[in-house]
Symmetry: C2
Subunit: 348 residues, 2 copies
Amino acid sequence: MPAKRSPARRPTMKDIARRAGVSESAVSFALNGRPGVSDVTRERVRRVAEQLGWRPSTAARALSGEGAATVGLVLARPADTLGVDSFFLQLVSGIQEVLAERHLGLLFQVVEGVPDECAVYRRWWAEHRVDGVLVVDPRTDDPRPALLDELGLPAVVIGGAPDERHPGLSTVWADDAGAMASVVDGLYALGHRRIVHIAGLSGLAHTERRIRTLRAEARRRGLTGVESITTDYSDAEGAAVTRRVLGSAAPPTALIYDNDVMALAGVATATELGFSVPADVSVVAWEDSALCRMVKPWLSALSRDSVEFGRTAARELTALLDGGAAGTVRVPVPRLIERESTGPARGT
Amino acid sequence: MPAKRSPARRPTMKDIARRAGVSESAVSFALNGRPGVSDVTRERVRRVAEQLGWRPSTAARALSGEGAATVGLVLARPADTLGVDSFFLQLVSGIQEVLAERHLGLLFQVVEGVPDECAVYRRWWAEHRVDGVLVVDPRTDDPRPALLDELGLPAVVIGGAPDERHPGLSTVWADDAGAMASVVDGLYALGHRRIVHIAGLSGLAHTERRIRTLRAEARRRGLTGVESITTDYSDAEGAAVTRRVLGSAAPPTALIYDNDVMALAGVATATELGFSVPADVSVVAWEDSALCRMVKPWLSALSRDSVEFGRTAARELTALLDGGAAGTVRVPVPRLIERESTGPARGT
DNA sequence: GAAGCACTCTAAAGCGCTTTAGTACCCGTG
DNA sequence: CACGGGTACTAAAGCGCTTTAGAGTGCTTC
């Protein structure tokens, strides 16, 4: 028979009440800063609680209507595309910073796709597990805002454009359109006329925003050799698309990759095909990371502060949980860090 | 005044009881597969529950002693070293797979260091938040096992060698020593005699295991130009150490990096210094990832299945939660994938 | 033909907290 | 001196579930 552990017992409010010689309700009032107890009693109770190492049971709190002191985050990505992206862990660590201050837990789940994600929200809601959620990777025709509205689950959408159809949701986003415009500006100024955008997952809101903006910028300037090609963000597809476009009759002179991993793969592929970066083709990565300074040539990249992005999102959510109104926050436009992978177009 | 949402009400067991015309206790028995109700009643109750979309409130469950249906994972790493590592997200996604099957939640927290981590465990325990935890990055002189033992919190240590002082904890680990020995074997056979190991964080159990093994292997073969240098896993330190050792009087002919990011930085640095890989210096990365195939030369790397590692750990934890005995599981030894960054030592 | 039993079900307590309603007391007022 | 009104506190209900102790059937059994 396995030796039974003797788990230390958790102190409860009843213990405090007994030690302090007051009723449980008095303890509750005292510890929650509510009126109804004198200052000296409050102090005494607080001391006893501290001394006993008491912490409120979230279960009991949640049950008596106080909420679960937890927010949820679900990542809908296939397991194998997860590892490479530095963005998420940074985002999460920013989120954590803010949540930790308020002793809010982060319930985390990774699933295969959006339908699964919706199921998770429903389950979390029914199980009383979370007080609110952070939604990432918003999409065009996204079912999630409507669902969260229906459930009455406070939520902030990270990376989506504000959506007036769901006024209950907050939004935190970066102006991809502005960033894309500035990148095109820069490349145009360097003489680039044929530009290919190796985009991320089709259907993601920010992917579509970038694609739309690129198209608009091209039209405005009368450029015809400009296109966007969507991928799954993997190095494999990044390489494959690069190979294809560089092998065409009139290859582009500039490539914009929607993440750092694809950009890296793209440079490797270009080099392999005999293209020199940036002499023959310029490369811009949309997402800066250590990776960009780990290969030669160093990659020019759009840099944003993902940790701060996470902090902002978490702050919005806590505001919502405190009963604040939903709002929209725009974080600074990603800034283009020019390194070695961009240069004047050949022949200018 | 902000429009109040009309949150859908969650169905409770009372609702089911009413609809099914039985008592709440009968519902509880029926839904939990306990004896005490007839099969036809059980079926009826189940149907009503399903129809109502009922899910047990974890708060209520936890309160009545059933546990929180949640396990915890805390990552003690400074925020900025987090993003680069592909290992964790893969581990987490493996963990999730197993937990999701059983509707267990994963409470996730990132903190600055081990003391904070201990505080989090205490808090989680006092708040009744988790039923068990997964501990990563075990260290030499690690305070965590003792703490978890004291709290009676089921735990599985990921990556540590089994520790007989805390029989309550399970362990899942890979045989770093064996892997290191095989790498040295391979390099030795290729003629390498001066080998530098750019190790990870000093104090981590697996770092120390690798270092010890390397030293033993060197001694066994009478090699003197062999050493380990610990780093913080960052590309910056990887590059710095590489620069230093390659600049020495008798530079090593083989470098073993404890992660993929440093290996990449190392190759870049070596190339910059005029060393050709693998002609002048061979490079092995301890951790395979897409990165290793994204630079030329492709990196030879020790590969393990991190997702499966996570699954195994999660399975051990659920076994523990089910009342099983603590155990030790050894996952397969990482395998060396030989690509282009390793070759015969110059002059052999 | 009453005792015993197995079976299905109900009542009620309890988990740790919050909150409402209520009690006891003290103070100043007219 | 009775009254109103505040302050400091307690009692008790309730959140949604589990679980123990019974209660009420219909069957066997000697």
